[in-house]
């Protein structure tokens, strides 16, 4: 009876427009990419070559190191966002009066494009003239080559990514904090708990769902990241900041379409290997807490 009613009220064809657009322009290319990654390909002809593209990908340091950079980038940005955004959100939901101003200011970078942010910060990090080095030199330090030093470049970009992406995490945390029942805090302060104890034993565990969203969102975003790196360093110096997405673009620009597609499949596998188990684990943890 119930399923009859559902059938009569909610026609299945309503999902067809979405499903066709999503299937044709997203899913189908992913399915065919599995084949094209095994070929020497120039859009006209695709010559099957087995796993050669993958072998080449992992034997060339310029490409294989991009996997490591991608992991450092994704985990670095994700951890920093989860931790820093938590404290900002706690601060913004306290009794301070300037929170509307601070909230808007923190949200502002979200409106500016990655390319604009990347270019602006690249100039602020200029090794001799840049704003950051002027400040460092003002306090008597030695100028730092933020983007030219291979050991430092990736971390400089990570900091900019955190600066730009922090607001989404803060907003998700604030939403989570506001949905926590106020009576928990009242009961805790009657029992004499300090505010730090309250944050640790009430806020933090009850924020697990928000925290999980932030971890998954920023980790997947980090694993796919391209625009900021491309505009700030173009993968350099050398290939010190090359990530999977920039290798895909470089091989495309060089005309190695099969190899580029293999890089795309490596990214797909890497994200699947990390994101699906992680989500499963985080959901389990969330259930255990509640």
């Amino acid at each position: 009876m119930k399923s009859n009613k559902e059938k009569s009220l909610y026609p299945m064809w309503f999902v067809i427009p979405s499903l066709i657009i999503f299937g044709v322009f997203f899913l189908w290319p992913i399915i065919t990419s599995l084949y094209y990654s095994l070929t020497v390909w120039n859009f006209e002809t695709a010559k099957f070559c087995g796993l050669d593209n993958y072998k080449l990908f992992f034997s060339e340091h310029a490409m294989s190191s991009s996997v490591v950079h991608t992991l450092i980038y994704a985990f670095g940005t994700s951890i920093l966002k989860v931790v820093i955004a938590f404290f900002i959100a706690i601060f913004l939901t306290s009794k301070i009066r300037t929170k509307d101003f601070i909230r808007s200011a923190v949200f502002f970078p979200n409106l500016v494009s990655m390319v604009a942010v990347g270019l602006s910060f690249a100039y602020m990090m200029h090794p001799t003239k840049g704003l950051l080095n002027s400040v460092i030199q003002f306090f008597g330090g030695n100028p730092v080559d933020f983007l030219g030093n291979p050991a430092l470049a990736l971390f400089s970009i990570i900091m900019v990514d955190v600066w730009k992406g922090l607001s989404i995490s803060v907003v998700i945390y604030i939403a989570g904090i506001q949905s926590i029942d106020k009576t928990y805090y009242e009961a805790a302060s009657i029992d004499g708990a300090t505010s730090w104890q309250q944050i640790k034993s009430i806020t933090l565990p009850l924020l697990a769902p928000s925290q999980n969203s932030i971890i998954i969102l920023s980790l997947i975003g980090g694993l796919r990241s391209f625009e900021l790196i491309w505009t700030m360093t173009g993968g350099g110096p050398g290939f010190a900041t090359d990530v999977l997405a920039s290798v895909i673009y470089k091989q495309y620009a060089a005309g190695f379409y099969g190899l580029s597609t293999a890089g795309n499949v490596v990214m797909l596998i890497l994200i699947s290997l990390i994101a699906f188990p992680l989500q499963h684990f985080l959901n389990k943890r969330e259930e255990a807490i509640q």
């Binding site: 009220l9 309503f14 992913i30 601060f91 409106l111 100039y123 989404i168 939403a175 505009t231 994200i271």
Partner: protein
């Protein structure tokens, strides 16, 4: 009690100063660079300009045979059609996915939610567009933007849809409304709050997108606003003042969108991230 009050004031002061330094100085830098002369801008300092050059903004528009005008037109069309298309198709899909509980719907749902995780396959997409003879067209770019953002839009809609009681639809059905009428004249208008969130999030994402137009919409005629920035970097290495004027100009539409829908952002996030 008094001590706590003093602590709060201290928190206010420190909070404002830290926020201003970390989040506002970069924007001050962008703006001040955009009104300097070419020579002064190349020094990349944050000091005030000795002379103000607002005509930089007019120059950006004229640069490269009115490239920026074309870019605003292209990005505007792309953003508007993506937002409109997504608002409607995702609402229809989310409505049925949220309401029906059978196996087919569950399958559709889990396939579409894959899109939240896995990355698009870029070159096979270009190949597909070429074989359909729609490569480098605005139509294919709109379709790709819709396809990429469908999972997120459905997730947001679905979270919100759960709060709309089904009795409404049943009553309308008894009154003799068709299923299509129930959706368009009863359900769709109730989705306004979440649509405001979607308009700003999808609008900003699409307007600020650099990567997808780079791959799927190349060519001077097809230039989008983010491409103009990138072109500056390679073409006029020394004209920092124009580059930053360009940054300011293409951020203004997003700022206006933000001012209109400001309050909705947090509400929408609550609906999307916590319920979803």
């Amino acid at each position: 009690m008094k001590k706590q009050k003093r602590l709060l004031v201290l928190g206010d002061i420190i909070g404002v100063i830290v926020t201003a330094i970390i989040f506002l100085v970069p924007f001050y830098f962008m703006f001040i660079q955009s009104i300097k002369s070419k020579k002064e801008a190349s020094r990349l300092s944050i000091s005030l300009p000795t002379e103000v050059h607002f005509e930089n903004y007019a120059e950006v528009f004229k640069y490269n045979n009115y490239q920026l005008v074309r870019a605003f037109k292209n990005s505007g069309i792309l953003t508007i059609f993506t937002v409109l298309g997504l608002l409607f198709t995702a609402a229809m899909a989310a409505y049925v996915i949220q309401r029906r509980r059978d196996k087919a719907t569950a399958a559709v749902q889990s396939v579409i939610m894959l899109g939240l995780m896995i990355p698009a396959a870029i070159l096979p997409t270009i190949h597909l567009l070429q074989s359909m003879h729609i490569y480098k067209t605005m139509f294919s770019m709109v379709m790709i933007e819709i396809a990429l953002q469908t999972p997120f839009a459905i997730m947001l809609y679905r979270g919100y849809m759960a709060s709309i009681p089904t009795e409404l639809e049943e009553a309308a059905r008894i009154d003799g409304c068709s299923r299509w009428q129930i959706f368009t004249s009863i359900i769709f208008p109730l989705l306004k709050p979440i649509q405001a969130t979607l308009i700003i999030l999808v609008g900003v994402t699409t307007f600020n997108d650099f990567t997808n137009p780079l791959y799927f919409l190349p060519g001077a005629e097809n230039v989008t606003v983010q491409q103009t920035l990138y072109n500056y970097r390679s073409q006029v290495q020394s004209s920092f003042n124009l580059l930053f004027a360009d940054i300011i100009l293409i951020t203004i539409p997003m700022l206006i969108l933000f001012l209109i829908f400001n309050k909705r952002i947090v509400d929408g996030m609550v609906a999307g991230s916590v319920k979803g």
